[in-house]
């Protein structure tokens, strides 16, 4: 099979970026949007075509990785050679489909959403740049090429998040996202350096070859009590954790919601934030064979993040922030699944993780785009300004409901299947993690439906303008993504994307599925009771006290306890403190580092006193000190 046309998948977006970037000012804005969208449409078709071809050609029941291009780029040393090329394997092809699909939907949606914005052409140029970098990231044949695109993704997301540059908060958020992820990338970079130094290669195929030197003969060097390989793998994971916003590097993601909503859908739901998952999955054999300890770490970090973020999500009022924390929580799921997975026939977690990545991309993008549609209609991000929208925005309402049901894990929607596989994998590996993830499933259902009821049900506030349904450019992507959310669960993933390319045998466990459906239903019901209508329960209690004792009283009494437990105890004693911890301690630590730097900067200001005699004094004392140090150390 000849895949040489895949080069177009990389070339087209960069050409579009250059064209719109250079010519955008001279075109009608709408034209540049159409150009970008139609270009991406072609890319999407090409990706589907690639996927179709690729998954249609098995060799001996399994899929082989194919290096479509492999050009020599830099001969760094004799053994360390950097290539640039395109790698096709089940993982990258699957990502190709996800990225192009979601990106296409965002492109179409933005035609409506961003209409009339200043810098419309610039926006589409940046979108193309982002798509290009993301595609380059997943198609990279070696870790160095991946790192370059990885950083490019960071740059283009910086540009996109900071798109509303008139808002100071957007600028601050863009900078924060950039710097925090760069900070994480320093780990990634050092990890790459160590790994390539000991394995003498950057190439993914060589690194993950089960019979290759990297896996069969890992270095025995030890640094500060841990094997160097473990260090390298953990440092590489640090990069992934930064992009995928794992605790404690997650602080940039909620703030990044300042960007335009379609951008959030693209970057913070489907593509950039799953880069960390992709990275771990890409190097999975290496993790699995040379450093199982780091997989353990990944599982715990993932699990903690998913619980932590779910709890915080319950307290947020800004609907995009709810979705942001929900994203954190769901990526936590994916990380857990990778962490608990084995290789080959034991690779259920691996498959489940990518399956969840796949389904999550669609339903989370749908949620963001739905939220965007709502924001577009009511011109506010806050739930308190919303309510009763189901009669004004029927399409948004239905699609949003589908997305909520999907993320809550209600069968037969796609989220149910992928989450179920993760729970099975966790159950087989580690019961505590399983319990946490099971609980998180309930919390997820709760906060998603809290969001849903607050937006579409509950009381209707006074709207300045009567909200109306969004234009077709916005609703068509919603409908398409809703369909994808419903049906993507039926993709035979265990046949297609597995850790070793061979089909994986899976079974359906009612023992796991049953409780997970149950807790989801409980979560939804609690949300229904609390948020479906304007909450008048306390008043009803008051009136009913005057009246007679009847069954209703009893029911209200139970409700009261319920309300007390959920609202008072959980909110005030768990969610609020956790949210406070996140905002003040975790965020605060990062700020503290910054402030300390600035403090030191001020403290040594006197060194540059302007008086040259002191300069000379520093010079000569410095020389003498240096002589002394080197003599002493030598």
């Amino acid at each position: 099979m000849n895949y040489s046309y895949t080069i177009l998948i990389l070339l087209l977006p960069v050409l579009i970026f250059l064209f719109i970037g250079l010519m955008g000012d001279k075109m009608k804005p709408q034209l540049s949007g159409l150009l970008g969208t139609s270009g991406l449409f072609v890319i999407t078709l090409l990706s589907y075509f690639t996927a179709f071809n690729f998954f249609d050609h098995r060799v001996d029941e399994s899929f082989q990785a194919i290096e479509v291009f492999q050009l020599l780029w830099l001969r760094f040393t004799d053994s360390l050679i950097i290539h640039i090329g395109i790698l096709l394997d089940p993982l990258s092809v699957m990502m190709l489909v996800v990225i192009t699909t979601v990106s296409l939907m965002v492109h179409i949606y933005s035609l409506g959403y961003m209409k009339g914005e200043k810098g419309f052409a610039r926006y589409y140029a940046f979108l193309s740049l982002f798509t290009f970098s993301m595609l380059g990231l997943v198609l990279a044949t070696n870790i160095f090429q991946m790192y370059i695109f990885w950083e490019l993704v960071g740059v283009s997301s910086y540009l996109l998040i900071g798109f509303y540059y008139e808002r100071p908060s957007a600028v601050a958020a863009a900078k924060k996202a950039f710097i925090v992820t760069r900070f994480a990338d320093l780990g990634f970079l050092i990890g790459i350096l160590i790994l390539s130094f000991y394995t003498n290669t950057f190439d993914f195929i060589a690194l993950t070859d089960l019979n290759g030197l990297a896996i069969t003969q890992p270095t025995t060097a030890v640094f500060m009590g841990l094997s160097v390989t473990t260090w390298a793998m953990l440092l590489i994971f640090m990069g992934g954790a930064g992009k995928s916003a794992m605790f404690p590097l997650h602080i940039w993601l909620p703030d990044a919601m300042e960007g335009p909503t379609p951008v959030s859908a693209l970057i913070h739901a489907a593509t950039m934030v799953v880069a960390g998952v992709y990275l771990v999955a890409r190097l999975f054999p290496l993790y699995s064979y040379t450093s199982p300890d780091s997989l353990e770490v990944i599982a715990y970090i993932g699990s903690f993040t998913s619980l932590f973020a779910a709890i915080i999500a319950c307290t947020q009022l800004d609907i995009k922030r709810v979705l942001a924390f929900s994203t954190l929580s769901q990526i936590g799921y994916m990380m857990v699944a990778l962490g608990v997975s084995g290789y080959g026939a034991e690779g259920l977690g691996y498959m489940a993780s990518l399956f969840h990545l796949f389904t999550h991309a669609f339903f989370k993008a749908l949620l963001f785009l739905g939220a965007g549609s709502v924001i577009h209609a009511v011109h506010s991000n806050l739930m308190t300004d919303m309510g009763g929208l189901k009669k004004y925005m029927p399409i948004t309402h239905i699609t949003f409901l589908i997305a909520c049901l999907t993320i809550a894990g209600i069968p037969p929607l796609s989220g149910f299947f992928s989450k179920d596989e993760i729970l099975v994998a966790a159950f087989e590996h580690n019961k505590i993690i399983f319990a946490v993830q099971w609980l998180v499933a309930g919390i997820t259902a709760f906060y998603m439906f809290r969001l849903y009821f607050n937006i579409f049900w509950n009381h209707t506030p006074e709207y300045h303008h009567t909200p109306h349904e969004s234009p077709a450019t916005m609703t068509i992507p919603l409908i398409f993504l809703a369909l994808a959310s419903v049906f993507s669960g039926f993709v035979p993933f265990h046949d297609l994307v597995t850790s070793d390319g061979n089909p994986l045998h899976t079974e359906f466990h009612w023992m796991i599925a049953g409780p997970s459906i149950l807790i989801a239903v409980i979560g939804i019901s609690v949300a229904y009771m609390l948020y479906a209508k304007k909450n008048s329960k306390p008043e009803s209690i008051a009136t009913s006290l005057k009246g007679f004792y009847n069954m209703a009283y009893h029911k209200f009494y139970i409700d009261e306890v319920y309300l007390f437990i959920t609202h008072k105890v959980i909110f005030y004693f768990i969610s609020r403190p956790v949210a406070w911890f996140d905002r003040h301690i975790v965020d605060g630590t990062m700020n503290l580092i910054g402030n300390t730097t600035v403090y030191f900067s001020g403290a040594i200001k006197k060194m540059q006193s302007g008086q040259m005699q002191w300069y000379i004094w520093y010079f000569t004392s410095g020389v003498l000190l240096l002589v002394f140090l080197v003599m002493y150390l030598n």
Partner: protein
């Protein structure tokens, strides 16, 4: 005490004492004169070591050139009889510590080291040898630095004139 030894100690004492005096004297013109004494004593030292040419250059260039230049600039920028401000305490402390630490570190390091003298025969230091080497382009020839220094002197000349000349317009 032999003759050379006595002369050496006199010269060394003069160099040390006058250099200390020159950096501590409150009268700037005196400081310049003390510097002159140091430079002349150094010429004597070179003479003792058989480098008569170097000693002559030292006398002409330093005593005749640089010190005169310094004195001119003193006359241009300050009154002759005005006393200089005393050094600040902080400067004195910091400079003193650095100087003493420097002397200690360097002297100890140098005295610990056993130098390895060359076993080859000495060459003469007469004018003929020096002149030939200065104009030679082969091994042990110094024609290149001699030429390069002319560029340096030209640049210094043009630069100094440029800076020191009053504004034209």
């Amino acid at each position: 005490m032999t003759g050379p030894k006595i002369i050496f100690f006199i010269l060394a004492a003069a160099i040390v004492v006058f250099s200390i005096l020159s950096i501590f004297s409150r009268r700037i013109l005196r400081a310049a004169i003390y510097l002159l004494f140091v430079l002349v004593a150094m010429a004597g030292l070179y003479y003792m070591m058989n480098f008569q040419f170097l000693a002559a250059v030292q006398l002409m260039l330093y005593a005749g050139g640089i010190v005169v230049l310094i004195i001119f600039s003193i006359l241009l920028t300050s009154q002759i009889d005005s006393k200089l401000q005393a050094p600040k305490g902080s400067h004195l402390l910091a400079g003193g510590i650095t100087a003493i630490a420097g002397i200690a570190l360097s002297a100890i390091t140098i005295l610990q080291f056993t130098f390895k003298p060359s076993q080859e025969n000495a060459v003469g230091t007469d004018m003929r040898t020096i002149g030939l080497q200065l104009m030679n382009t082969d091994v042990q020839g110094y024609a290149l630095p001699f030429e390069v220094i002319s560029v340096l002197l030209l640049a210094a000349l043009v630069g100094s004139i440029f800076i020191a000349q009053k504004k034209k317009v």
